[in-house]
Symmetry: none
Subunit: 208 residues, 4 copies
DNA sequence: AATGAATGAGACTTCATTCAT
DNA sequence: AATGAATGAAGTCTCATTCAT
């Protein structure tokens, strides 16, 4: 089942600690997605990774620590992408399109992590997860600020409540996880276009 | 903490099976919402309900059975409400408004159940939960059919993909659970109005 | 699954208590044989019998009481049969043949009870089971006495130890439970004949 | 009551996995014999062995796994002994004597295991116990083949049914468990001699 | 860096029995 | 004679974590 990374008597540096760490993170991510955090035992993680419990606790403080690191990887990536959108585009309409697309791309690329986040949202609080929460709030703030910018610039309706609207957009994107199937008829681009269309122009047929 | 399982006004020592059952369901619902299904022990449920473990297993097949019944109660109510909307209103635009409102009202009224559903979605599959899944699919189908109806009647844009749009609407409503605070500045009506506005007219300012 | 023995409002005497009792005994016997005494719950007995727990405890003192009555029924029948053999036949050789046959017939007819006895032998001790033990000892004594009689009359070899021989005969008969299949190619008669032949004449070919 | 799981002379705090394992097996064997498998709790096993429940489940898959290993140890020994008899002796009469003796020696030496086997026979089926069943069948086949050999060589009566005879022999030996007391007046040798005499020559006095 | 035996608390569930009705 | 809700102790097993090596 497991492959020993090294025979006895080999030189110390050959153990490839980073490899062990990465393999553990990947195994945990897959299992957390499949069964959920609480239903995944440390035993099942180390068994899937082909290492022992000792190795696990050598690299991580515990099961929760793994959850934290998985989430941090994801939210870091998401935050970077949002920042890049905000830097490279300035038009609020275009920014919104890009942010919607970015959210969906994140879901496609980090499917497992998003799934875990949604399911374990309840446990991602508390002091340990404060940095993650801060980054999430920052991401959310980008969406709200773009709505506000659009209103201020007169291109978005002044009747909009930026908070509700931004959360609505984040919600429709987040929900895609539950129904979007990668590799199906629809591409992430298709979904993003539809959502942008809906959010910007609405469902009603216009006569203008 | 514990309530003796005896209905008000009942004779001393009388059995009150329905009361016991209800108290257990309520305790479980509250705890599942607060801590999550897996992190809630049967022990904590019976202790909160003021009954014994034996009584719990007399009324329910197990912890999962409780989860199932909680979800069934909720989805039944949701399905009934959707059906009523479809019967009492026929205009697609009006139907959509009402369905959006209905979804949010459900979230406000069955906050705990929705929260549990979202978190434990992974476990709400399998043969035991098939009836629940069927009802959920039926609810979802109402939303999609209304979009399709609007397109057919020429009031909604023919460029819309009914599936994506309906899931987007359901997503933005579902996500409200994570940020909407009952009793805060915004009412459910406010949120429903904003979402309807967004979905029907879009964020952009129109010149017509 | 269960059939109510009586509709509400019926006259008292119509409940047929003996029927309830018998049905419970039969259900328990079948389940004890199939799963063993310890692995059979009172719940499964009453469910198989189509009555409630209350009825069970109305008729029996508890699960062990049922076990006791099942064994008593069987051992009574066995004892009666042995006594009848001893009364109707006097020749030791013939008596032995008949006792061997009788033991096997008992196994065929009371298969479940014998199976239960063998498996739960350990629990058939203690004061509650003293009457049963006494009857068993009586049955065993018949076998031993016939061997002794044969030796005394000079027809059985004086080198035989009656105790060992009688237990050997009882053992070979009892063991038949584990391999004899009623309705198969061999009849109980066949088996009894072979065992009698073995016990009386031995396997070796004789030249007399 | 409890023995620290540390081998004699081992260094302080040293793990002794094999010792733990052995102690658990011994404790389980004794308790299974005394009270039966179902009436023995894991708690009582670990308490008698002086280890924790965790250690138990570290070494064994569960209570049934222990039962399986106990039985496997016994049947392996029995099979080895039978094979050795078959190799070292060729005369059918002598083989039968030896096989009878071997069966009784096994009962004396593995008294607890045989007792457990007889009582839990019902649970020793199913896929998990297939290897054990196969070995038992192999042992039984030796007895039957020896009867057949004797018939073929003209030393045993051609009227014998090898299957019935072999099961009869196995039955009388197995039953000895219920009445033979080690250390009593009779030795295993005595019992084996009596049984061999009975099986080979029969109870009747011969005139040849 | 890694092992894996051991811990001990706590998980879910079963069950024989009691008792108010 | 019968019901079935309720009990509470005990059952098997899991698990995150520790630690001697």
């Amino acid at each position: 089942m497991a492959v020993k990374s090294q025979g006895p008597g080999s030189r110390g540096g050959a153990y490839a600690p980073e490899h062990t760490r990465r393999v553990l993170l990947e195994a945990a991510t897959a299992l957390f997605e499949e069964r959920g955090y609480h239903a995944t035992s440390v035993e099942s993680i180390v068994s899937a990774a082909g290492v022992t419990k000792g190795a696990f606790y050598h690299h991580f403080g515990g099961k929760q620590d793994v959850l934290l690191q998985i989430q941090e990887d994801y939210i870091d990536s998401r935050l970077r992408n949002c920042e890049q959108v905000m830097e490279s585009v300035t038009d609020p309409q275009e920014r919104l399109r890009e942010l919607i697309y970015e959210a969906l791309v994140g879901i496609e690329k980090y499917r497992a992590q998003v799934s875990i986040f949604n399911a374990e949202r309840r446990f991602l609080t508390g002091p340990d997860f404060a940095p993650i929460k801060a980054k999430r709030d920052k991401v959310n703030a980008f969406y709200e600020s773009v709505i506000q910018q659009g209103i201020d610039e007169g291109v978005f309706s002044p009747d909009l409540n930026p908070r509700i609207v931004s959360f609505s957009i984040l919600g429709m994107a987040a929900w895609a996880l539950s129904w979007f199937r990668p590799g199906g008829q629809l591409s992430i681009r298709d979904v993003a276009d539809q959502m942008s269309m809906l959010v910007l122009s609405g469902a009603l047929v216009h006569t203008d």
